[in-house]
């Protein structure tokens, strides 16, 4: 636990000192949200969930997507940079598994993304009169979802370790999630397939929780889905790490 917290602290301090990365994330996520809200995206959410406040439903999904994006995009770029800088080898000699050490980076990324989400939410409230939603059931669903999405990030990081360049794959995946996980209105046939992803389940749950129709079984489904994603991600990362060590890939970045 101390290692995870120390890693989180180190990463937060670096993020604050670099600043530009945080500011560009804030600008990017704000501009995207403004575009979606101004173009009246998500009116169908109102009909689907039986409320006129479709903008808040869109905002809820958008927040879940930004957190999930941060979760899947934490480990792979970090590993790429660390192997090249040499700091990766500090961590690989630790007695704690890499997947847990990088959980500290995940926590730092989620903390920063949460600040961005709060800024976006406050801005949207004043401009578009969307609701402030601070409810434990919704926050719990978001936490469980992001942990599951971290598992998917670990799969990408495993590929990163072994194949070395997966930058565009992460970008395509982040963008793809926006359109296939019901963050933006998505057809039912697609969401049935993507319900293997925690984000799709989370989007449905937080919107239903907002309109008061969420069922306990759905929370359990999300919990199981996230647990499976985390476990699979953990195992896949371990396999790729062993393969990369065996083939000597880590020395040839």
């Amino acid at each position: 636990m101390r290692i995870i917290l120390q890693e989180c602290k180190m990463d937060l301090l670096r993020a604050v000192r670099y600043r530009v990365g945080m500011i560009s994330d804030l600008v990017l996520f704000t501009v995207l949200l403004v575009f979606f809200l101004m173009s009246d995206t998500g009116t169908s959410f109102g009909e689907e969930y039986g409320t006129g406040d479709y903008k808040t439903l869109l905002l809820l999904g958008y927040v879940a997507w930004t957190l999930s994006s941060a979760a899947i995009n934490t480990v792979a770029p970090q590993i790429s940079g660390e192997v090249q800088r040499g700091t990766f080898f500090l961590k690989i000699n630790s007695h704690i598994p890499m997947q847990l050490i990088y959980f500290g980076d995940f926590l730092a990324a989620i903390a920063i993304q949460s600040v961005i989400a709060v800024i976006c939410t406050v801005g949207a409230h004043f401009i578009w009169d969307t609701a402030f939603v601070v409810r434990p059931d919704i926050i719990a669903a978001l936490i469980v979802c992001t942990i599951g999405m971290y598992g998917i990030g670990l799969i990408i990081a495993g590929f990163q370790l072994f194949f070395k360049r997966v930058g565009s794959l992460v970008f395509v995946l982040q963008l793809g999630l926006l359109f296939v996980t019901d963050t933006l209105p998505t057809s039912g046939s697609i969401t049935r397939i993507t319900s293997i992803l925690p984000l799709t389940r989370c989007n449905a749950i937080i919107r239903e929780a907002f309109t008061g129709t969420a069922a306990a079984a759905e929370y359990i489904g999300l919990l199981l889905c996230s647990a499976v994603c985390f476990a699979v991600g953990y195992a896949v990362f371990e396999i790729f790490l062993r393969m990369a060590k065996k083939k000597g890939n880590l020395l040839m970045y």
């Binding site: 101390r2 290692i3 800088r85 000699n93 050490i101």
Partner: protein, 158 residues
Amino acid sequence: MSGDKNLYAKNTVKENVQFAAVLRGLRREEIQKNIEKYLPYFPLYETLENKLYEKLSFGQKRLITIFAAAVSGAKIILMDEPTEGLDLEHKKQLADIMAALKKDAAVILTTHDYEFSVNVSDRILFLKDGIIVSENGKLGREEFLKLYHGFYEGGDLQ
């Protein structure tokens, strides 16, 4: 350790040293104890501890990286060309540090700097084409050069 890139550029020296030790499972008190233990050999730590690692000179980065390894309680320290790019003052500091580190850890270094290796090493191995061709205890300057020329510069030991 190799080069000057083993620690985080945008973290301070203190943060980096502590992090390296935490990664090896040391507790706060143990880290402080180790810092105090090795501080006499790394006097520059006290003046640099709150500086960002990226702001240090090449030689300072090299020494701080070794300090981090020492504080983290590493039992085996590998150094690849540790004197490369160091000025005379830093080289002398490194030799003093090596003397201190040898008490607690096995220090293995690869170097082309024969004067440094003669000064600090208890055992010197010569490698050729990836094979150990000569294994020695502490060597004097003359003995070292004789073996060196014999193995690498057309001498009769080839």
